[in-house]
Symmetry: C2
């Protein structure tokens, strides 16, 4: 199993800090950034130095701990961090967990408790993702051909989490189990997170091919894909799933050609308070993400970062508790 | 009506030449290239200085004329030009038309006849596209809201033809008729031809918004699109349509949300000898089209340039003879 980490504690009791892999520099450079205060943690989430719903949650938890180390009030820290990204539910989930635990703590121990809880959130994410890998593995083993032809979108590998990844966790598990897999990696415009997935897979020695997002329909029509597996930024109670924009188009193509479409995510990604996809806010990001060619001109740009895949297009949701039908999330232990 | 031309004759009887707008320089620069021989014409098609099925056909016809001016044999010229791009049927169609006409010509008049026929192909393309605009206009007028929200893919505007465009011709016609239209312009990775469409629309004063290809499904789901209209590189006899890769995903989304999906193309784009989409060759282009970020690394890339939209997803095919159901192309006069 891939043991690489995107985030880890650094510094000491007197000068606590958190080290993150700066994903805006990948794949060209492997560079780390040291977070020493609330504002740096919020900035890292906002500009996507850390990205991927689970990693955003863990970073936000450490952001609360850093804020308390600075002497900033808990509520203020939560407000600043909650405002960084609107769609990923793990952000809210991690902040609510920190609030719940810390409100119960005596003021004298609150600071230590914050670091302890952030550490627990990070550790549990890594464990949950390893379990997602184990639960997803049989779905890849069940495919008749070798290599299994998997397609993914965006990056839901270890880079999007504390460790192991979500959508890519079953692929790592298959690779470890000796099941040959080839991954079709979608470029994922406008931010090209597919390059991160390609980088991850190359480092792990897993065969893969980068494609334009536009090519997904053709490849599925041509029978070159056995299953699609993606991560999630928020799953509504009815199973509708928000994930990186473009996911929905892949789900439509998978359904048109009757291949499985899986969502892999920890239970913390499920927002039981959100009834359906229509209630999920969709983050609109800056048009500058399209790159110089576009942003230099005066072309008007719309840049929604996520879309919603209806539950009925999802074959199964792979969690650390097992694989659930999208319409059957109520069975999950919260 | 927009009267701008992508290709026009230049030079004189002693030194005949053809001037083309170099589309690889757009939108940053408006630069022209003078074609004076067969090899330059073939190169222009191959590297996509000219692009779009109808314009490729006209350029190939002029390529034959240039070859005869050089003293190159007709068959050799046709072989060189036919090898430039595999998917666009207009290329083959224009070359077959040149062959048919020139084989009947006396050797003494063949050279003049070639220029005459290339000129006719170019003129007829402009006329056909103007007619496509007229026939498509009522489909936009029939939409209840203003501005009409149209979505297109790639560039099928005047830049893809000799003049007027195919998919964009009805939009120009609507604009001329005072029907307010807003166009969602898909970036069209990996070559970003959406930037050409945005450039065209900006010059024509037609409101538009550039989006990532990935955003098409979300916008359609959100009810922000009234109809999708695209061009075609080859239409099979059964109505299956090859167009720029990514078209199929938009057709799936249009069907999922029950909005019309139109293909606009001259009759010359219909390959009555091709029974269905499965028989259309799909051009695989170089991975370098993804740009420096990808091609600098050693990431394996697949880059199919077209996909096939099944006839049953197409609401109508808008031609210069009128709008036909995709399953009803046999009614068209060849």
């Amino acid at each position: 199993m891939n043991e690489l980490r995107t985030i880890c504690e650094d510094g000491d009791a007197a000068h606590p800090s958190v080290l993150i892999l700066d994903q805006t520099r990948l794949p060209a450079q492997t560079a780390f950034v040291r977070l020493t205060n609330l504002e740096q943690a919020a900035h890292a989430i906002r500009v996507m130095q850390v990205r991927g719903a689970p990693l955003i949650g863990a970073t936000a938890a450490y952001g609360v701990a850093l804020a308390l180390s600075e002497g900033i009030a808990l509520e203020q820290a939560i407000d600043v961090l909650a405002a960084t990204r609107p769609t990923a539910v793990n952000l809210r989930w991690a902040l609510e967990r920190m609030r719940r635990v810390l409100e119960k703590s005596a003021v004298a121990t609150r600071h230590d408790r914050a670091w302890q809880e952030a550490r627990a959130i990070a550790r549990e994410d890594a464990e949950a993702n390893a379990a997602i890998g184990r639960h997803g593995l049989p779905r890849l083993q069940a495919v008749g051909r070798r290599p299994v032809q998997a397609m993914t979108h965006c990056n839901a590998g270890w880079l999007a989490t504390v460790a192991h990844g979500t959508a890519i966790a079953p692929i790592y598990a298959a690779h470890d189990a000796g099941v040959a897999v080839h991954v079709w990696v979608s470029e994922t415009r406008p931010r090209n997170q597919g390059l991160l997935t390609a980088w991850e897979l190359a480092h792990a020695g897993i065969p893969h091919t980068l494609i334009a997002d536009n090519a997904a329909g053709l490849l599925i029509m041509q029978g070159k894909v056995d299953l699609v597996i993606v991560g999630a930024d928020r799953i509504a109670a009815n199973g509708d799933t928000a994930n990186k924009v473009g996911t929905y188009l892949k789900a439509l193509a998978a359904r048109a050609h009757d291949i499985p479409f899986y969502v892999a995510a920890p239970v913390s990604t499920i927002d039981f308070a959100c009834p359906n996809g229509g209630a999920i806010p969709i983050e609109e990001r800056d048009g500058a993400e399209f790159g110089d060619k576009v942003s230099r001109g005066d072309t008007p740009v719309a840049n929604p970062a996520f879309d919603v895949t209806p539950a009925q297009l999802i074959t199964g949701i792979i969690t650390e508790q097992g694989v659930f039908p999208a319409a059957g999330l109520a069975a999950i232990k919260r």
